[in-house]
């Protein structure tokens, strides 16, 4: 061999390096793609990128294998006339034929009844365009995957503090000293979080992981506190109880920046009981904000408007206003609420010893109080008070789906938000920090349409398909209070369903409840497999026909890059490109990649040509829009307005002359403006020249306390991030929720729920958080199903779907059910045994793996490793289908019916937000008898290879060498 010291990689073949943005998961790191003779040689993190700073995870480093996967779709496909759905028999058609077929069908629907068309997308980050397409089409039936992902996290926090974990905010580990991670093991923004946690730990920060399972980042925590699934709310309530009891709360923060000291009407006889006492005659900004017409009880003067000069308000107490109205402070109500939520009570619910709960509360409280950070940054608050420093209470939290994916998740996350607020950690150093465009008003301004009249033939939807209801009038219901959307989002069933309920679309459309639809268009959503709950039934529904042989869901369009299980059910398949073959924007209008210090957005640039006849989905949507004649995509004369997606991105403005477009950087004719500014024809080039990323760093004085930071709020208004520069007071007490409750109690002057929802709304729309047992648990026999079952994604596949990836699948080709040996041995189950896992829906067969890192009442597995035979370009006998399994088969998309329900089907979701309650499922396990065979169950008919699928003869060996692979 040649001496490696004289081997220079760059001298082999024609090499180039192109910068773009990764999309092996939702994290969106900057990457440099090295090419050799046109093939990807090496993908490395872009060291200048604010997100990943040069690092790259296992997925990002395996992008090469995505390009060579035999699962690639390369041709538009139409289901063969004589084939049934699900049989995976297709014929190739041209793009012309495909688009004609689709535009004719959709054009007709739009002219007749636009809501017969439903567009649901699995992965977000393209919502700015897909949402706009739906609105332009005029259908309300649009959402992305947020409803089955973590909408409870978004709403629970945004309805409390005006921002949320996720792309919109996170733990400030640069300043924190105590970090509590609960209900998450790994998360997107995964590389930034990994970078931050390791730095935090190296600097001696204390890291506590609270989770039923010790995995993911929790592995390196200083302490693991196992908790029973779905009981986090009880823990937060008990922690808050202890913190208030000991006076460990941040009194000044609570008074100034939350509604803790604000006075709530306390007279159950009155209709406005539970509302803030307001003086509506005061001249304050009103609109989509929280008007400052509320009161404090000053120690000396009694009732005063909030933030009155020199006031010294009471935090606790009951008072009587001058007009005789009895009131209590919010904090008084909160204290009364947490009174009974003692650590000893919580021990019985959470399985965490009461002493541990007390110690955790003490650690949080003492760290927040005694280890304050003072940064020498002067700022001005919204009431014109100058501050010389920014104070931080260095206790940071991070949480995600472990809290969210329960039917009590919204109130649990409200409880967490309140705990974080009580500790005084919101948008302060070492606590929770917002990311642009957040914070936003509570709740944010966009609203769904308010009634069926918003849906009209050949007309764009009057309103946005998704939004943030603040009162019953914001619901999207008809005069009878019944839903307008196919997924029943924003109805009385799920009033705050800010991300829709994708998990119920197929069931509802199949049942025709609330109405049948015609065309369901799924983009990048594996709804016949791991994105669906109750998978077996979902597959049946997709293929179900009425007595005339018509499919219950008449037309199914699937756009994907790979031969997923769902593709087999499509009537029309549109081949998408990979992330290395397209333009993309990670837009401020959707979910940007902002940093704590200011807005960041980024783009993808194609580094390779599209494979086969695959086309970027956005190009397809824009052409489709033009063909159907959607106003935003057509000129007056009916011709297409935009050549393609890149052209659209540069030239589109949210409204003519708004200066707001998909990309925030290098706006204006000369590229000298940002966030707002006229279109810049050179915008793509500017992004390309800057590593594909735009990062605006705010002045230091705008980087903290943004809910109440006058400078920041005005800057945000001036740059179009928000319509209002009003302070965003934290909602310890949620008047928004109380409005819905009042409606259910018949005390709201406007819309009221149908009778059958009154009790549900009254119970769950509690303005203060409370703990309740998850809905499924309330309905099933806990003795029969004693275990909670959870799923997680392994880090090497987190937020990716890469069973088709030859490298990543070697790390996880199949999955096991992890069980605590204490529990398993009671059932006579040994490590490695085949076992049955049964829920109220059915059972699956899988192998078990002992683990001491799981709470004994919980079992869990890696999600979406199990695949259907033949899908994803894998052989019929691949481990994924023969040894792997999918827990989704056991998780209901609807709650088990009780006699009280009658014919009413309820989604297995949070009753406030419609968040899919994945983690509520309860199961039992038992050993498989020997004669029952050694393959996972259920099994499905093998999916056949599709025409155009890269059908290399299946070879035993695959030796990838860039520049040589597959070439003679």
């Amino acid at each position: 061999m040649k001496d490696p010291a004289v081997h220079h990689d760059a001298e082999i073949g024609r090499t180039e390096v192109k910068e773009t943005t990764c999309y092996m998961c939702a994290c969106r790191c900057g990457i440099r793609v090295h090419l050799r003779d046109g093939q990807v040689r090496y993908i490395e993190g872009n060291p200048n990128h604010p997100l990943n700073k040069g690092v790259l995870c296992a997925k990002g480093s395996s992008g090469i294998m995505k390009q060579v996967s035999p699962a690639r779709l390369t041709k538009p496909l139409k289901r063969k006339a004589n084939a049934k759905r699900g049989e995976s028999k297709f014929e190739e058609i041209s793009w012309g034929e495909a688009l004609t077929l689709l535009s004719e069908r959709l054009g007709k629907l739009r002219a007749e009844d636009p809501k017969k068309f439903a567009l649901f997308t699995g992965r977000d980050q393209m919502q700015a365009l897909t949402g706009m397409f739906a609105k332009q089409f005029g259908t309300p039936n649009y959402a992305a995957h947020g409803g089955f992902c973590s909408v409870n996290m978004a709403t629970g926090m945004i309805y409390s503090i005006g921002g949320s974990f996720w792309e919109f905010g996170g733990p400030d580990l640069d300043h924190a000293k105590l970090f509590i991670m609960i209900g998450t093991a790994e998360d997107h923004h995964s590389n930034p979080l990994k970078i931050a946690i390791s730095k935090f730990k190296r600097e001696g920060g204390r890291f506590i992981a609270i989770n039923p399972v010790r995995s993911g980042y929790g592995a390196i925590a200083d302490e693991w506190v196992p908790i029973k699934p779905g009981t986090d709310g009880a823990l937060f309530m008990a922690l808050t109880h202890e913190i208030i009891k000991l006076g460990l709360y941040d009194r000044d923060f609570l008074i100034q920046y939350t509604n803790a000291a604000e006075l709530v009407i306390d007279d159950p006889a009155r209709d406005d009981h539970g509302m803030f006492y307001r003086d509506e005659s005061v001249e304050v900004t009103r609109g989509c904000t929280d008007p400052q017409d509320k009161f404090w009880w000053d120690r000396n003067q009694g009732e005063v408007l909030t933030h009155a000069e020199g006031a010294d308000p009471r935090m606790l107490g009951s008072f009587t206003m001058k007009d005789g109205t009895p009131v209590k402070t919010s904090f008084q109500l909160l204290m009364e609420r947490v009174e009974s939520y003692t650590p000893d009570w919580a021990e019985g619910i959470t399985g965490i010893p009461a002493d541990t709960i007390r110690r955790l509360a003490h650690e949080m409280g003492v760290m927040a109080r005694d280890h304050k950070i003072e940064l020498p940054i002067s700022w001005t608050d919204a009431w014109d008070k100058e501050h010389d420093t920014v104070t931080g209470n260095p206790v940071a939290f991070h949480a995600m789906r472990g809290l969210a994916a329960h039917s009590n998740g919204f109130q649990t996350i409200r409880a967490l938000s309140i705990l974080m607020s009580v500790l005084g950690t919101i948008d302060r150093p070492g606590g929770f920090r917002h990311k642009a465009p957040f914070p936003k008003p509570i709740p944010p301004c966009p609203k769904p349409p308010h009634g069926p009249e918003a849906v009209q033939p050949n007309t764009p939807l009057d309103g946005l398909p998704l939004g943030w209801p603040a009162k019953p009038e914001d619901l999207f219901v008809d005069d009878d209070g019944e839903p307008v959307r196919i997924d029943k989002a924003f109805s009385w069933e799920y009033p705050l369903a800010a991300h829709g309920l994708m998990h119920n679309v197929i069931t509802n459309a199949w049942r025709g409840d609330p109405y049948p639809i015609d065309t369901l268009f799924l983009f990048m959503a594996n709804m016949a497999w791991n994105s669906a709950m109750n998978t077996v039934a979902t597959r049946e529904m997709l293929a179900d026909q009425d007595e005339n042989g018509e499919y219950k869901i008449p037309f199914l369009v699937v756009c994907d890059t790979f031969a997923s299980e769902t593709v087999a059910f499509a009537d029309l398949v549109l081949p998408d490109t990979t992330y290395l073959e397209r333009h993309d924007v990670l837009s401020m209008l959707d979910r940007p990649i902002s940093e704590f210090d200011g807005p960041v957005d980024s783009v993808r640039l194609p580094v390779l040509p599209p494979k086969g006849d695959s086309r970027p989905f956005q190009d397809v949507l824009i052409e489709l829009g033009a063909r159907i004649g959607l106003p935003a995509f057509t000129n007056q004369d009916g011709t297409a307005k935009y050549k393609n997606y890149p052209d659209f991105v540069v030239n589109y403005e949210t409204s003519p002359g708004s200066g707001i477009g998909f990309l925030a950087g290098w706006r204006g004719k000369f590229g000298d403006k940002y966030l707002k500014g006229e279109p810049n024809p050179q915008q793509w080039e500017q992004y390309a020249a800057n590593g594909c990323v735009f990062h605006h760093e705010l002045p230091r004085s705008y980087q903290f306390m943004r809910n109440w930071n006058k400078g920041y709020l005005h800057w945000a208004r001036a740059h179009g991030l928000t319509r209002w520069a009003e302070p965003i007071t934290l909602h310890l007490y949620s008047e928004v929720l109380q409005r819905f409750r009042a409606a259910a109690q018949g005390k709201w002057p406007g819309r009221q729920p149908p009778e059958r929802y009154r009790e549900r709304i009254e119970t769950y729309f509690d303005p203060l958080p409370f703990y309740y047992e998850p809905l499924e648990t309330q309905r099933i026999d806990k003795k029969r199903f004693p275990l909670n079952a959870l799923t997680q994604r392994p880090m090497a596949m987190y937020h990716s779907w890469d069973s088709q990836n030859a490298w990543l699948r070697q790390i996880h080709s199949h999955n096991y059910l992890f069980v605590n040996p204490q529990m398993a041995l009671v059932h006579g189950i040994e490590d490695g045994d085949w076992i049955w896992v049964e829920s109220h829906l059915g059972r699956v067969k899988c192998m078990c793996r002992f683990s001491e890192a799981v709470e004994p009442g919980t079992v869990w597995t890696w999600n979406a490793i199990g695949k259907s035979s033949g899908a994803w370009g894998l052989s019929a006998k691949a481990d994924e289908s023969q040894k792997g399994f999918l827990l989704n088969h056991l998780i209901g998309e609807e709650l088990p019916l009780t006699t009280a329900d009658g014919s009413q089907h309820l989604s297995n979701s949070d009753p406030l937000t419609g968040q899919a309650a994945w983690y509520d499922v309860r199961v039992r396990i038992e050993k498989v008898e020997q004669q029952e065979g050694q393959a996972s169950e259920p099994q499905f008919a093998t999916m056949k290879p599709l025409p155009g699928q890269l059908n290399r003869p299946r070879q035993r060996w695959q030796a990838y060498v860039a520049g040589l692979f597959g070439r003679k």
């Binding site: 090496y42 990002g60 590389n191 204390r206 935090m315 003492v366 030796a959």
Partner: protein
């Protein structure tokens, strides 16, 4: 003599496998490639990897530690795999201490793998020669690369910076300091192989809250004393 090596910080490794696949993608198209995969889309997919991340559980519930453990060739100072090689294909570089295999000389007898207690050599089942971590020899010695990039691919990729790289013979290098100050240790020291790669142990941060911390004079609850006196009887009314 220079001895290049990795120091792997188990205190921050979260087991993400970034080092596993970044290694694979660099090396499969590099000097040490290809890294062949067998049954890439079939049952039992298996291939050559120079680096694996394993998971161990330490202790019993609830005092369980989950330890993620990346492992690749440790580039022993006294590598037992080298003298046993009958052809000289296995060798240790004099200039930087990296242990390498010359595929052109390897006869695929696998004897070197027997002589490695760490299980870090993997036979390429297609080419039938022994392959192993090269510390990305074609990166670290490539003077045409910018200096910041003259590191193994795994080190560059690692999101938690859990992989330090440098000369363990230079007492002032980052790796030597880490080994010295943070309890760096060698694997299976009982064999005297003197691995150049070291591991850094878990470290715990604890918080001690005292009773005094919980009872402070500035407790905000004292500000909320709102007892209302309604003239009820007191000792003042009845005693003398």
């Amino acid at each position: 003599m220079t001895q290049l090596a990795l120091v792997i910080d188990l205190n921050v490794c979260v087991g993400c496998h970034a080092c596993v696949t970044s290694c694979k993608q660099w090396n499969t198209s590099g000097w040490a490639g290809p890294m062949v995969d067998e049954n890439a889309y079939d049952a039992n997919p298996t291939g050559t990897f120079f680096n694996r991340v394993q998971t161990y559980e330490v202790g019993s519930f609830p005092s369980t530690e989950t330890v993620h453990f990346p492992k690749s060739c440790l580039h022993c100072e006294d590598p037992p795999c080298v003298p046993v090689c009958p052809t000289g294909a296995s060798y240790k570089r004099e200039d930087n201490g990296v242990v390498l295999v010359d595929y052109d000389k390897c006869i695929g007898c696998k004897y070197c793998s027997w002589a490695c207690p760490y299980g870090v050599r993997e036979l390429d089942e297609q080419q039938q020669v022994m392959k192993k971590c090269t510390l990305c020899i074609d990166r670290i010695t490539d003077q045409t690369l910018p200096e910041a990039e003259r590191k193994p691919a795994c080190v560059i990729a690692c999101p938690t910076n859990a992989r330090l790289y440098g000369d363990v013979h230079d007492p002032d290098s980052e790796v030597s300091i880490a080994i010295r100050e943070r309890g760096g240790y060698a694997l299976m020291p009982e064999w005297g192989t003197k691995p150049a790669n070291h591991y850094l142990p878990r470290q715990k941060t604890r918080m001690h809250v005292t009773e005094e911390d919980l009872q402070r004079s500035n407790n905000p609850l004292t500000k909320e004393d709102i007892t209302v006196y309604s003239g009820e009887e007191t000792l003042d009314d009845v005693s003398w």
